[in-house]
Structures are given as structure tokens and as C-alpha cells.
């Protein structure tokens, strides 16, 4: 069974600064995907970035990048040039091998961007 641990319940960052959110996971699967989702107050989960375990190169999406350490089972999210719109809950998730929609989520990190 997959498990995801997010050890930072809350974090804050000044606007335009950089922040890193931590995530560790455990799985017995050989192939899997890792995800970071953002959930603003509107409640809709929005995919921020994803990483396939077989790819060694860290994924990047504009201001968002990950540090994927497969051996350590670590998957942190770095947000550069933080913006007020980045304020939200951030969830780390891992996929089940049976399908992209079988996601196992962590408990989330509440990020607040301070003007």
C-alpha cells in the first residue's frame, strides 16, 4: 500500500520569495507517478506538477519545480517568485499502478503568501 507524509501542516512565504514544501512517500510499486495538487478555497483540486518515477530529470512547470529523490522516497515542491494566488492547500499524492485516478494523498500543507 502507498502512503504519503507531509510533515509541514502550515507554511508562509513573503511575496516574490521562494518556498519549498516537503513530501515523503512509501510504495512497493516499481512504476508510479508523484503529484502535487493545489486546493484553493474554491475547493477544486488543481494539478500543479507531476513526476514519473522512471524519469530521473526533475519536472518543472514555470515557477514550480520538484526535487525527486527516488532512493530517499522524497518529493519536494519548490515555488519560486511566490504570488498571492499561490495561497492554498498543497497536497502531495502518489498513484496506484491500477490507474491515474487511484491517488493516495498526504494530509496537506497550508501555504500562505504574505504581501
Amino acid at each position: 500500500a502507498q502512503t504519503v507524509t507531509q510533515s509541514q501542516p502550515e507554511m508562509s512565504v513573503q511575496e516574490a520569495e521562494t518556498v519549498t514544501l516537503s513530501c515523503t512517500y512509501d510504495t512497493s510499486e516499481n512504476n508510479y507517478y508523484l503529484f502535487w495538487y493545489k486546493q484553493p478555497p474554491s475547493r477544486q483540486m488543481i494539478l500543479v506538477i507531476r513526476q514519473e518515477a522512471y524519469k530521473q530529470q526533475n519536472a518543472t512547470e514555470n515557477r514550480f519545480s520538484v526535487n525527486f529523490q527516488k532512493a530517499a522516497k522524497s518529493f519536494s515542491l519548490k515555488i519560486s517568485d511566490s504570488q498571492l494566488g499561490d495561497t492554498a492547500m498543497y497536497f502531495c499524492a502518489i498513484s496506484d499502478q491500477t490507474g491515474a485516478n487511484n491517488l493516495f494523498f498526504g494530509t496537506g500543507t497550508r501555504l500562505t503568501v504574505i504581501p
Binding site: 477544486q44 483540486m45 494539478l47 490507474g99 485516478n101 491517488l103 494530509t107
Partner: protein, 114 residues
């Protein structure tokens, strides 16, 4: 294009009652999954359906059931509601059912059991 739509947005039920939640996937998406998100927690996987067949089931009691219709919309049913069933229920759709396809979430149905 419309995203994943869920109805109703909010719902209040009494313990012991039955509830049906509905989800319409993005046009062309054939896979629908359901998640339960209790306040302060991450979403927990309940069911996945693809092409009207159940493809996955999370660790939930038999009071929870679901189905997918020929138009790929889906219903989640919960019988004999308990106070602990109070949560945000999220639906996600994707083109396929494997790891290579991105899941898109709806805004959820907030269920309160009193």
C-alpha cells in the same frame, strides 16, 4: 469546455438517510473516480469506474456504492448515513484509466450529516 461538474454543491442529511451524489465528467473522458475529503485531511480514494466497469475500490464499507452510466456520468450512493460521513466528496475524470492520463477534479459536494 465545461470541466467536471458535480451536483449538488451542498447537502444536509440526517443520520440513517440515503444520499446520491452526481458527477459529469469532461466531455470525452471515460474514467470517473470518487474521493472523500474529511475536514483537515487529504482526499481518500473511494471508487474508480472506467467504461462503466469498476476498476478500483478503496477501503470503504459496503454502504458506499457507485455506478457509471453509458454517457460516462456517475453516481455515488451512501446508505445509512453516519455523522462520520460528513465530508467533501470529490469527483475526478480522465481520458483513460492508467497512470499516463491526467485526472481533473470537480469542485465537490459538501455533505453534512446531522
Amino acid at each position: 469546455d465545461a470541466g467536471v461538474t458535480q451536483s449538488p454543491t451542498h447537502l444536509i442529511k440526517t443520520r440513517g438517510q440515503h444520499v446520491t451524489l452526481r458527477c459529469s465528467p469532461i466531455s470525452g473522458h471515460k474514467s470517473v473516480s470518487w474521493y472523500q475529503q474529511v475536514l483537515g485531511q487529504g482526499p481518500q480514494f473511494i471508487f474508480q469506474y472506467y467504461e462503466k466497469e469498476e476498476r478500483g475500490r478503496g477501503n470503504f464499507p459496503d454502504r458506499f456504492s457507485a455506478r457509471q452510466f453509458p454517457n460516462y456520468s456517475s453516481e455515488l450512493n451512501v446508505n445509512a448515513l453516519l455523522l462520520g460521513d460528513s465530508a467533501l466528496y470529490l469527483c475526478a475524470s480522465s481520458l483513460g484509466w492508467n497512470m499516463n492520463t491526467e485526472a481533473f477534479f470537480g469542485q465537490g459536494t459538501r455533505l453534512t450529516v446531522v
